[in-house]
Symmetry: C2
Subunit: 411 residues, 2 copies
């Protein structure tokens, strides 16, 4: 059963919707949701789509089913506030997004696709509170499936960031593999991707988003991750970091290519001062922390890409949040360590790879038959508004309520 | 001018000494001193040594000079307390350890060999307070010279540490190169060493000893590095780190080889709790921090060794301090990331590579002609007592006042 969904650029206001195909990625810090809402009154002209499909080489039988138009929605919650997530699912009647167990037709069990460690940890809670069974999908599998989908199906998904400039990268579908996928969640996974479903987790680091937020919370008393990230924009890391110039009395260590402004030791200035924690500005601490972690991830990623001869490194995960300083530090780190030979690339839907991968796995059930294979080229992706708490932020000044509009060729 | 020094195992009490050849390594956090003291009453039998030298292939002319016996001393001070260091040098009359400018015999300038950024930063201060000019030697040069000396000349210098067991490594002088030298000071330098004076700084990281001490100070209010290190021995990092089992509900993520006890995210548990900094034990924070940094350095080091096909990684620098948990974490990291194919090795005189290298550079001046080329095999190195504040600790329970006894074949 081959089915198609088209992502459109229609900038609609939130329509009446019918929810289907909820998928979850429950990580250590965040729960990510992806679901599809059908727009009841937006059926498209069958002849128009059939004609388009023929041009894509899709057989007529694929379009013999009713057509759904709708939207992919993205949402997230803190894992520690899982009850808010459960309430959200209940209030949106998102449980309709699951499927019934077709091997046991008499069963009224509802399954929802879920990945991430929390799919195991919170399985009983979902059962108890919502009567939903979580159908677990492997985390790395989902990340790779999600990344491959985004890279192949969504135009203007991948971008570089250098000198404050974002530049979209044209992905050549025939020259995508192999690449290194670096997913920065609470921890960091580095995955060598060789094709659809062909991958290996080659490395990772435990210095990730959880480290930034955990250390940041202890050091600054910020109440949430975004507040900490905002703070970093106002800070000056040189107040807490020990620079090469601090050690060398203001001069470079030119012989080995270290300028006076290179950070020799993150937080190294907190040694020599007689200052206490209260004497430092939270914004300076936040900036130093963000730079330390982003730079470290960039370095380890590059070393792994080098090890396997991978030219492309895609960075994703909710740590990044399209934040300019994070994008910049990772990009500069990859540029610095590769001596300009490698470029960091980022994904607009960075935080939802796992959830998208879980979402895609509904295809395997052959039940509701939703599958997003291709973009109809005449409908490039764009931002569209969705319900509150539903968003996929591209960067700090983007609309927080970003979805992907789709047309689905259903059963 | 080939000169020899022999390191003896004589466990003497502190003798009356005549100081010579002071060398300094002034880093971002610590000033390291190495100097030689001649023991006036301990002249050895010339015939005995001549006979021994002949067996080593050293020509008679090399032993035609008076013989000095003495000791290499090691000392350190915090860079922020540089005045204590200046006072120490003054009180010990260590300024006699320098040399006069032989290109200008009428000059009464005294030069002392110095390396590290502080040799630039504090040059004026030494001139002003002690009337000493610092003769600057390149930092990486000195680290490599110091490491090569220790590895070649000092028996039982290098050791591995696994499962709480220290094991000395027999160094084959003909199969020493190439190796990766990882010097962990405030920041970290990674140097590929191909021979005497043949090396390249291939990488490094700004997450080093300064980060441990800087962050540790802010988080725990410890008053010095050693106190913070001591604390870590009593701590439990699982209280602050997010483990794989915390995300997966107590189970492993076996498919990719991550056990439930693997750290997924350092400090990641500080996210989900509603605890403040005061609610965490300083010892737990210290342990998590130490593990995060040691593991990160181990990983980046291994990736660089792999990149250049280097089988041996030697870790040095004052961050380690022979501390069991640090040794263990670095060893485990190298073992884990290399899948058991690489072993971390450590150096007993870990903190003094740069200072030793600066010390060795006196040879170039051809003035006092001190040079430590070889160990006389019948005199294996051992711990000996020296003056207060003078030490090179091997591990946390070793004598802090460790020197190396030497016999010097002088001019």
């Amino acid at each position: 059963m081959d089915l198609l969904a088209a992502v459109s650029n229609q900038q609609n206001s939130q329509p009446q919707s019918q929810i289907s195909h909820l998928a979850l990625d429950i990580g250590g810090s965040l729960i990510k949701l992806v679901y599809f809402s059908r727009i009841n009154d937006s059926c498209r002209d069958n002849d128009e789509l059939r004609s388009h499909n023929e041009s894509l080489g899709v057989s007529n039988s694929d379009t013999s089913q009713p057509i759904l138009e709708g939207r992919l929605h993205f949402a997230k919650f803190e894992t520690s506030k899982i009850n808010d997530c459960l309430e959200f699912i209940r209030s949106k009647k998102l449980r309709l997004g699951g499927f019934h167990d077709c091997t046991s037709p008499s069963s009224d069990k509802i399954f929802i696709k879920a990945t991430g460690g929390g799919a195991y940890k919170f399985a009983d809670l979902f059962k108890e509170k919502l009567g939903i069974s979580l159908d677990k999908e492997d985390e790395m599998d989902c990340l790779v499936t999600g990344a491959n989908f985004l890279l192949k199906a969504v135009p203007q998904e991948a971008f570089t960031y250098l000198d404050g400039q974002k530049e979209f990268v044209q992905i050549d579908h025939n020259d995508l593999y192999p690449y290194l996928l670096v997913n920065i969640g609470s921890g960091v996974s580095m995955i060598k991707v060789d094709g659809d479903g062909k991958f290996e987790r080659v490395s990772g680091t435990n210095v990730g988003g959880g480290t930034f937020w955990g250390l940041g919370r202890l050091l600054t008393k910020c109440k949430n991750f975004d507040e900490l990230l905002e703070l970093s924009q106002l800070g000056n890391n040189r107040v807490v970091d020990m620079l090469v110039g601090d050690i060398y009395g203001g001069t470079d260590y030119a012989k080995i290519g270290l300028s006076a402004t290179t950070i020799a030791s993150s937080f190294g200035k907190a040694i020599s001062d007689n200052k206490e924690l209260e004497d430092y500005k939270p914004e300076d601490i936040s900036r130093s922390l963000l730079r330390m972690i982003s730079n470290n991830i960039g370095q380890i990623s590059y070393l792994n890409a080098l090890r396997f001869g991978l030219k492309r490194i895609f960075f994703a995960g909710f740590f990044i949040r399209g934040h300019a300083y994070t994008l910049d530090t990772i990009s500069v780190a990859v540029h610095f360590w590769s001596k300009g030979e490698a470029k960091a690339m980022f994904l607009r839907h960075e935080g939802f790879l796992g959830a998208l991968g879980a979402f895609m796995s509904y295809e395997k059930q052959s039940l509701h038959g939703l599958m997003v294979h291709k973009i109809l080229p005449r409908f490039p992706i764009s931002v569209s508004s969705a319900g509150d708490k539903i968003y996929c932020s591209l960067n700090s000044d983007s609309n927080e309520n970003e979805g992907i509009e789709c047309t689905v060729y259903g059963m």
